[in-house]
């Protein structure tokens, strides 16, 4: 079963359109939604959760259309948005009591263990937490009702490297169960590269690529060559290029470059930036 299945999703605003989005996240996988600010990542997530209304298309979550009893479906989803919007005056213990009366499957033992593991003070008010602590509390809440799907929207933004690493570890731990899936959006591509099985590139409301990460890393490479050598490569094989005083650096499709031409592995970030520049 697919954790998320999106077909022909469209949402139009006065100054932005998310157009004809098709995306499938299989169960047991982590998908990274990559895109610059304003690319449509948060809009996509809000549409999945039915926080905003779509213009057209279908969205299935865990096999169920999100227009059919989304309230029930949300029992099986854990969500962390870029702003963990808990009231400032409440404490982690109070959030636990609120959530105990919110989720049918809320597990106080799991929540307590996560708070302990993350060294979260139970009686400290939310407003006194650092951004990293707020995010970690958001994730603890999102994981304590045994969800099957975890959705993280820019959850690592603004965190220091240690906190980011802890968040990444929690996500990896969650996906040890093969029935669990994660959709994580971020513009910090290096985080996604560490954990994702699938990468989807969004640019100005359009999906420009959705592929398995390993396929991307084996299919594309970077060529460092002279101005003359680049002419030998077919234009269709070049995803993007950067000219410097010393030569050309080009992201290329490995199978389409002349034999014998050296290339080095490409990072997801380099690939994304090249593709976006090419689209521009």
């Amino acid at each position: 079963m697919n954790a998320i299945e999106i077909k022909g999703l469209t949402k139009t605003y006065a100054d932005f359109t998310l157009s004809n989005l098709n995306l499938t996240l299989p169960s047991g996988c982590i998908m990274g939604l990559v895109g610059e600010n304003g690319a449509g990542k948060s809009t996509t997530i809000k549409l999945i959760l039915d926080i905003i209304k779509k213009d057209s298309g279908t969205i299935k979550i865990l096999g169920k259309d999100n227009q059919e009893d989304i309230k029930c479906t949300k029992e099986e989803i854990g969500v962390v948005l870029d702003e963990v919007g808990f009231p400032d005056c409440l404490t982690a213990i109070q959030f636990g009591k609120i959530m105990e009366n919110t989720y049918q499957n809320w597990d106080n033992a799991v929540y307590g263990n996560l708070l302990k593991k993350l060294s979260m003070p139970g009686k400290k008010m939310f407003q006194e937490y650092s951004r990293g602590m707020k995010m970690k509390l958001g994730i603890a809440v999102a994981l304590s009702h045994h969800p099957k799907l975890l959705i993280l929207d820019e959850a690592t933004n603004g965190l220091d490297p240690v906190a980011r690493d802890e968040v990444v570890d929690m996500v990896c731990e969650f996906t040890r169960d093969e029935n669990h899936a994660v959709l994580v959006s971020s513009h910090i591509v290096t985080d996604l590269e560490k954990i994702c099985d699938y990468i989807a590139f969004l640019h100005r409301g359009k999906l420009i690529l959705c592929e398995e990460k390993d396929v991307l890393l084996t299919e594309y490479g970077i060529v460092h060559c002279t101005f003359e050598s680049i002419q030998e490569i077919a234009a269709s094989a070049i995803i993007g290029k950067r000219e410097t005083a010393f030569g050309v650096e080009a992201v290329v499709k490995r199978k389409d470059i002349p034999a014998g031409l050296d290339y080095s592995p490409v990072s997801i970030e380099e690939l994304f930036v090249s593709m976006v520049k090419e689209v521009k």
Binding site: V79, E83, V84, G85, L90
Partner: protein
């Protein structure tokens, strides 16, 4: 919806304790100064706007969006504010009833028709205040809805005290007792409160976040 109500009650206790203390003080003063209707109306009207205050805090901390990731319908997210308003207004009204009852026992004036009529008008005012303000705040948010909010408060305070002083006259002209007048006021404000909830749910379901 229990979780949502618990959250709002925690917030009311934390953010509004000072307001609640003032309300209790005014209620106590109303026991001493029975002639001044302000001390009797004010606590209930202020209590009725506490859900609006909580909505303001929700907006500030982005709960208006974040709350929607949890297994609650938009209808429930709206309904909890009405439920909170109803609980707080009724609790405050019962406190007022208890104080007035105690006062009337002391002065041996309790149980008169006007006494109950007055208390029913106070309750109606509380329901009316919540009912008129919440749809405005759900539609425009606390920032934009502030002006409308102030206008409603002034109108309600002026209207209630005016209605109270005119009730005897109106009742006389319509040849009905003040009790009937007060019951009609309560019925009307209850209907407005219910319609307000229906309108707020519609507004919230169509709102883009």
């Amino acid at each position: 919806m229990k979780g949502l109500l618990l959250k709002d009650l925690y917030m009311t206790r934390k953010y509004c304790w000072m307001m609640l203390a003032f309300i209790a003080l005014f209620t106590a003063v109303s026991f001493v100064d029975k002639e001044n209707l302000f001390f009797q109306f004010y606590p209930v009207v202020i209590t009725s706007i506490l859900p609006v205050t909580i909505l303001g805090y929700d907006e500030k901390c982005h709960w208006d969006v974040y709350g929607q990731v949890f297994p609650y319908s938009k209808k429930q997210l709206v309904s909890v504010k009405y439920l909170l308003g109803l609980i707080l207004v009724c609790a405050m009204w019962l406190l007022l009833v208890a104080i007035q009852f105690f006062g009337s026992m002391v002065n041996q004036t309790g149980g008169q028709g006007d006494w109950w009529s007055f208390l029913l008008v106070v309750l109606s005012t509380g329901l009316l205040a919540s009912g008129l303000m919440l749809p405005i705040i759900f539609k425009f948010g606390t920032e934009k809805g502030r002006l409308a909010f102030m206008v409603v408060i002034v109108l309600i305070c002026a209207g209630s005290t005016g209605a109270m002083s005119l009730s005897s006259d109106i009742s006389f002209r319509l040849s009905v007792s003040t009790s009937v007048f007060s019951l009609a006021a309560l019925a009307a404000s209850s209907i407005i409160f219910f319609l307000s909830w229906v309108v707020s749910v519609k507004i919230y379901e169509r709102k883009e976040f």
